[in-house]
């Protein structure tokens, strides 16, 4: 009797069970945590460079109880929301127009493409000159960092709408305006949503950058202040917190996409 042939689970492209996947990925986190704990508890790395996990958690807990954490968080979320919304509200119509009309593309695309390659970091001193160190400067940095990328990505989303969809609209006698609102935009929407999800992830980086350089409140500000007082546990705690926040917004955007466009994409 011949045994059924089994393909090695380590072969290229072979899927593994979900349980195995979770076990492996969970183990990596656990091992890293143990290593972290071991090198700090043994005194191998001084706590001024790397505090132990317990100290980080206790410090975060203390900041949360005293309310500092929530104030920092509130200020930062407010800034990212406003900055991101301003960028998105402007990028949407412009991206749709340059994705649809060659004249618009000629006028705007090369310019945006050029600005896109100017490093956002280099705009920070200028942004302080222009708008001080208040919220306006944070909005400006988030805007510069996301708007130009969004415009180009939304243009791409729009260009990917099948040509025949537009042809269909024209054979139905629809005006250009109606073809845009009834066919092109709804058709590009799942892709545009993805663009927003990705650019929101970047926005967190720009926010913290702006807060690190010049601010009197926010998550980034707290990190700078903590450096001054050698509170390494606060710094690490906030960096981990920022990672978690990014992950949460990303997952929330993905879940929203599933709810909004659950019928569309596969067609």
């Amino acid at each position: 009797m011949t045994k059924p042939r089994h393909i090695r689970s380590s072969a290229i492209g072979t899927p593994i069970r979900r349980a195995s996947f979770l076990l492996i990925s969970g183990s990596v986190f656990a091992v890293l945590l143990i290593v972290w704990w071991a090198v700090t508890a043994s005194g191998l790395v001084p706590s001024i460079f790397l505090p132990n996990p317990v100290s980080v958690v206790t410090q975060l807990y203390g900041l949360a109880v005293r309310g500092t954490l929530w104030v920092d968080l509130g200020v930062s979320i407010y800034r990212i929301l406003v900055g991101f919304l301003i960028a998105t509200v402007l990028a949407l119509p412009i991206g749709v127009m340059i994705g649809s009309f060659a004249t618009w593309e000629a006028a705007i695309e090369p310019l945006v493409d050029f600005v896109r390659y100017m490093p956002v970091v280099a705009f920070v001193p200028l942004s302080i000159l222009w708008s001080g160190t208040g919220d306006g400067q944070k909005f400006l940095i988030i805007f510069i960092g996301t708007f130009f990328q969004q415009v180009l990505m939304i243009m791409d989303n729009v260009k990917r709408v099948p040509r025949d969809f537009v042809g269909l609209g024209r054979t139905l006698g629809l005006s250009d305006r109606r073809i845009l609102t009834r066919i092109v935009v709804p058709s590009a929407m799942p892709g545009i949503w993805d663009t927003l999800r990705i650019s929101l992830g970047w926005a967190w980086t720009w926010l913290v950058l702006a807060e690190l350089v010049a601010a009197t409140s926010g998550l980034g500000y707290r990190i700078t202040v903590s450096q001054r007082y050698f509170q390494t546990n606060t710094i690490i705690g906030y960096i981990l917190l920022l990672g978690v926040l990014g992950l949460i917004t990303d997952q929330a955007m993905k879940a929203a996409s599933k709810a909004l466009f659950r019928r569309g994409d596969a067609a």
Partner: protein, 258 residues
């Protein structure tokens, strides 16, 4: 009698100067009312371009183009178009896709719903009315597309290799369905295909196109009785005609001496 569709000496080139590429030259073809005419030819003969011009989606350089003696200047609801690619809007159900076209044609809400339902029934898809395109097979999608193009009562139907992306079995089913609908409801149809068997089975006349530049080299009458059923494909007249058309396509595939 004025023809339903008049194409007279139509020419079309892409590009200018050195790069100018003449894709259609002196195309003359008249379609009578309720006539089913196929355009066949090797790829690159410009048959899809010609259909697209008749649809009003592309312009042309010279010649005449008229539907019911009125010149064609833009796309419009008087010509229903079925594309080769699936053009069902993915965020609408089968029913809503048809209603979308009916609303564009100026029908009211309840009226659109009723007409859409009737046309889904016509293509035997009443059971799939609430399904989204991602839940439909390729053949079902094209049936909805045909129902949509018929729903707003265009003067004629333009079909650009509508079954080209389907598997052989589904293609046969679709051909039978289209023949049945056409024989019952009668409509002027301009049908582009590279499948000669399909052209002979469906058409009243077949125009063979050649390349370099794209032109009509020969027009065949299809003298097969209607209603046609699949069995007709095994009869001698069918097979002979199919062979003649094949030969005509082969001869037309040699570019003209410049």
């Amino acid at each position: 009698m004025t023809p339903k569709l008049h194409i007279g000496g139509l020419g079309k080139s892409f590009g200018t100067g050195e790069k100018r590429n003449e894709v259609l030259r002196g195309i003359t073809l008249d379609l009578a009312d309720n006539e089913f005419v196929s355009l066949v030819g090797t790829s690159g003969c410009g048959k899809s371009t010609l259909l697209s011009i008749v649809a009003g989606l592309q312009d042309y350089d010279d010649g005449e183009l008229a539907i019911d003696a009125a010149p064609i200047v833009a796309p419009g609801l008087d010509r229903g178009v079925v594309f080769q690619s699936y053009t069902l809007l993915p965020w609408l159900t089968a029913q809503q896709n048809i209603e979308f076209a009916l609303k564009a044609a100026g029908h009211g809400r309840t009226e659109s719903r009723d007409i859409a339902r009737t046309h889904l029934e016509l293509v035997q898809l009443s059971h799939a009315a609430e399904r989204y395109p991602s839940e439909l097979s390729g053949g079902m999608k094209q049936r909805v597309a045909i129902a949509r193009a018929l729903s707003y009562r265009p003067k004629m139907l333009l079909m650009d290799e509508p079954f080209g992306a389907l598997d052989a079995l589904t293609r046969h089913q679709m051909q039978e369905l289209l023949t049945r609908i056409w024989e019952e409801h009668r409509l002027t149809v301009l049908f582009v295909t590279h499948d000669v068997e399909e052209a002979v089975y469906l058409s009243d006349r077949i125009a063979v196109m050649g390349i370099g530049p794209g032109r009509i080299t020969q027009v065949f009458d299809v003298p097969l009785a209607r209603p046609r059923r699949e069995a007709v494909m095994e009869t001698t007249p069918f097979i002979e005609l199919q062979r003649d058309v094949h030969r005509a396509i082969r001869e037309a595939s040699r570019p003209l001496e410049q």
